[in-house]
Symmetry: C2
Subunit: 559 residues, 2 copies
């Protein structure tokens, strides 16, 4: 049906096979180098990408969206850089035309078959990779991530996650052969039939992006839905449109080359007053929704978009249970890093640090709660004490809500490590803050059981480690959690924390004292979210994430 699609598939076949193999072993695998070094990407890549990004600023982004009327410019860089890119504006009035246009190419896309669709998906990834510096800049100046993080989390790692999603979708679609011969022994002669199995899409897919991780969190759903045959409407967060506008541009470019309707992937930029996502989400044609963002809208989608399968990643209360450690300095460094990274604006950042009120045993002797605070403070000093170094770890504050929560931390508990304003050497307008740590008692559950998104951590004094574990278990079951972490030199404590993590359905990291952080999940190896507690109803990426995005339809005949 599409020779170009078949050619794309052939040229990326080896990559696909490696990726599928990696999903099965879940060891280390990466197809997109995470280092932005010139030795990897070439001398001019960084400057070329920055220039390409700069060229968009203040212009009309060259995309046309069916049903759109006029333009909208909604982005504001946390680094204070004027963005001002204008996108076609979709309002609720334009939704019917947009959905109709999205669905128009669906049958041809379906009939093109698995390999053509997967080939197109992989070619899109290749071309996004070719623009990875441009994307990194666009992620940096919309999300507030520091450049290297934007390059990695917003570029290379996001591409790996997208590839993982394509690999799972391909494996799922090819789990059943395109044609099977069924031969049943009969009294005289066997009964023989030929059976054909065709992958059919569910309908129009909607991807609702978030402000903090516009690519990393949107691409898995986008690619999983697209390669399984569904047209995708991308509704970016108004604060982070450009990374997804570039994404849609690349999708349309490749779709056009392969002879498909470009409206199979569209951008639905909006003025936030229009609340277009809520209107799109309940359209009868929309059968798949991927959402990352607030609990409020995530739960609204789960409750109201009944005609669709809804994959949500919302928020939870992430916990660290500190019992003991054989590397006190390593633990303090690791925790301080996790709290500082991107100013704690990660759904995976720890919030509740439970420890026994009587202190903990360490390789450096017994440490009281005050000693632990001092240890964390020393680690913060090294990591974010110097402004020029600090900004590369912290990035910028994404919105006023984060700032507000930071100023209110004092009313919640005793602030033992205060937040500090940091001056960005390159962007004087940037809003940069270090984390705050407050001490709470285990009785202060009304505070620590709620998510405080941003650079706020609670050091919670429990009667014992057993109480810490139990409080983690209960809070995660009730409020959800994306991550959990434990520090202990005792096997029985690790075992009880593992059991609690299974009960609560939370991914657990044990004794991280080095260069792996609880906030980070590695594509092809770690799952992100579990679908087993209120923080998310799906996982990046497993069979359940892809299997319901299409159906097998069979036909059979005697031969």
């Amino acid at each position: 049906m599409s020779q170009v699609g078949a050619d794309f598939f052939a040229s990326h076949r080896q990559l696909l096979e490696e990726a599928v193999a990696a999903t099965k072993t879940r060891g280390y695998y990466s197809a997109f180098p995470e280092s932005p070094s010139p030795r990897v990407y070439g001398e001019s890549a960084a400057a070329d990408g920055a220039n390409a990004f700069e060229a968009w600023l203040g212009t009309d982004f060259p995309l046309s969206t069916p049903g759109a009327a006029g333009v909208v410019a909604t982005e504001k860089s946390p680094f204070g850089k004027p963005v001002g890119v204008r996108y076609p504006r979709v309002t609720t009035d334009g939704v019917p035309a947009l959905v109709e246009a999205a669905a128009a190419g669906m049958r041809t896309w379906r009939d093109a078959g698995i390999e053509a669709r997967v080939g197109v998906g992989l070619e899109i990834l290749k071309r996004l990779h070719a623009r990875v510096f441009e994307i990194a800049n666009s992620v940096q100046h919309t999300s507030g991530q520091a450049f290297v993080m934007a390059f990695q989390a917003g570029g290379a790692h996001a591409l790996d996650r997208a590839l993982e999603s394509v690999a799972y979708a391909y494996a799922e679609m090819t789990r059943v052969p395109a044609t099977a011969i069924w031969q049943k022994p009969g009294r005289d002669a066997p009964i023989r039939m030929e059976k054909t199995f065709t992958v059919v899409p569910r309908g129009v897919a909607l991807v609702v992006g978030c402000n903090t991780f516009p690519t990393w969190n949107s691409w898995p759903g986008l690619f999983a839905s697209l390669v399984t045959g569904n047209p995708v409407i991308v509704k970016p967060h108004p604060g982070a449109v450009l990374p997804l506008a570039i994404t849609v541009q690349v999708c349309q470019e490749v779709l056009a080359e392969a002879g498909f309707d470009t409206n199979l992937v569209t951008l639905a930029a909006e003025d936030p007053v229009d609340e277009v996502a809520a209107v799109l989400a309940v359209r009868p044609e929309v059968k798949l929704i991927d959402f990352t963002g607030s609990n409020a809208f995530g739960e609204w989608l789960e409750d109201n978009a009944r005609q669709a399968i809804v994959y949500t990643e919302k928020a939870g209360v992430n916990a660290v249970v500190i019992d003991s450690t054989d590397s006190f300095k390593g633990m303090c460094f690791n925790l301080a890093f996790s709290l500082s990274l991107y100013t704690g604006q990660m759904c995976t950042a720890p919030q509740n640090l439970y420890l026994p009120a009587g202190g903990i045993e360490t390789d450096d002797g017994h440490k009281s709660v005050e000693d632990v605070i001092a240890g964390l403070e020393a680690a913060f000093g090294k990591l974010v004490g110097d402004d020029a170094r600090a900004v590369e770890l912290l990035g910028g504050v994404v919105n006023d809500g984060v700032l507000e929560r930071l100023t209110q931390v004092g009313s919640a508990g005793t602030v033992v490590i205060a937040s500090r304003e940091v001056t960005h050497p390159a962007f004087p307008e940037a809003v940069v803050r270090t984390p705050a740590v407050a001490v709470l008692d285990i009785a202060d559950s009304s505070t620590y059981e709620n998510e405080c998104f941003g650079p706020v951590a609670y050091l919670i004094k429990a009667g014992s480690t057993a109480e810490s574990v139990e409080t983690f278990r209960r809070t995660a079951i009730e409020r959800g959690a994306m991550t959990a972490s434990v520090y202990s030199t005792r096997e029985d404590v690790i075992a009880s924390m593992r059991s609690a993590a299974l009960d609560a359905g939370v991914a657990l990291s044990e004794n991280l004292t080095g260069q792996v952080f609880v906030n980070q999940s590695a594509a092809f190896s770690d799952f992100h979210g579990t679908g087993a507690n209120p923080a998310s109803n799906a996982t990046f990426t497993d069979g359940a994430y892809v299997a319901s995005r299409f159906r097998f339809i069979q036909s059979r005949r005697h031969i």
Copy 2:
């Protein structure tokens, strides 16, 4: 954790591997012989099974269900045989205790691991197979299926479907290794981590059985939920309890031997006035529901059991598009058989037979609509003209609703083949009827767009085959369909019907003129239901059917 479970797994490992391989090729595979012949099952098997069945009649079935109070006896054989088995009666008052007891053993069951759970599941299948004649008798005298059909659809084929479901669940759970080593290249030395992935259940599962296929339709969901770690409450249709009571008895026997809580599988028999299913279905602990039955309750579950994933098989309007044939006699025989089999009381039985008003071309020359009616009538004459032969194909009428619809067929259209009362030579009280065929015009959509469950077929005169195809497409999209069938000697007609079937998400059978019937789906090869139209939201059995019944929870640590 469970040595017995491990032993069961080891002893059934080869069967499992064959079954998993069969799901991938989707060719012919069966592990449970479908012939009730003494040459296969032994000389005494049939009599022993019948005696075992007879021994239950009028007794208290020896199961104890937590929360139950008193007993209930609700079954009525369509063959007129007194059943009168009494089961523990669950009322809405008993639901909390039942759910609590079901959940009590869940953690131990989870911690036993994949192999122990799958081992237990396979051992249950083996022991159900050892009681297949007893089960066949119990299916016959509750559903009204004739004995051979009850043996096959209710016994051997149901076991194959259950095995298929276990095979898919096992493949899905082992798609991720239990332990993985992650080694990321580092500047000085690699970073190494060990990661553990554990399958955790979703919660309590509820299986709601139907009257017509108590085992075939319930076992796939029961086994998929159970082996993935979820306790299962089995709520049988009040008219068909015994087959599922025997099932639960065998489940509990094997669970006990392997050291697990027997309440991991429980029977919730009820008096229909109590409407226990609706109360169970919205309990917060219930996370998975498998339902086969009416559109009304299926849609109610989808709308109200929001805390659970709901797998429904409801009803649709199945269609046959008759364009032309190279075997007029074969076609008429095949259609008459499909309409007669179990008195059309199958969700897969055809209802709407579209043909051009001007007639069709056949190997026996042009045939007018009247000629087609005559052809069908001749086929019915051979199949169900003789009472003694007829009862073995027709079985009994399952309930008064079916009889009522049969009497009303004359008001819907012109009856061209009338239903006939058949006397059962062995069961004089049996209610047995042959199918009725009425002729309608394509304009009579208000009649043929609704499901008329039972032995009623409409021969619908269309302007052309193109109109037939288009009407099938529209009706299936709007009303759903479990099956579709086409007869044509023209490739373009077949192609257009295939395209319509893909659009409507319906499984298609082409030119069935021999011993394969559109109502039948073969385990491991044919999918049953598609999940792609209103008649069902799931398929027996594919990845999507099992993947969301559990979650992977990981933990990781440096090594």
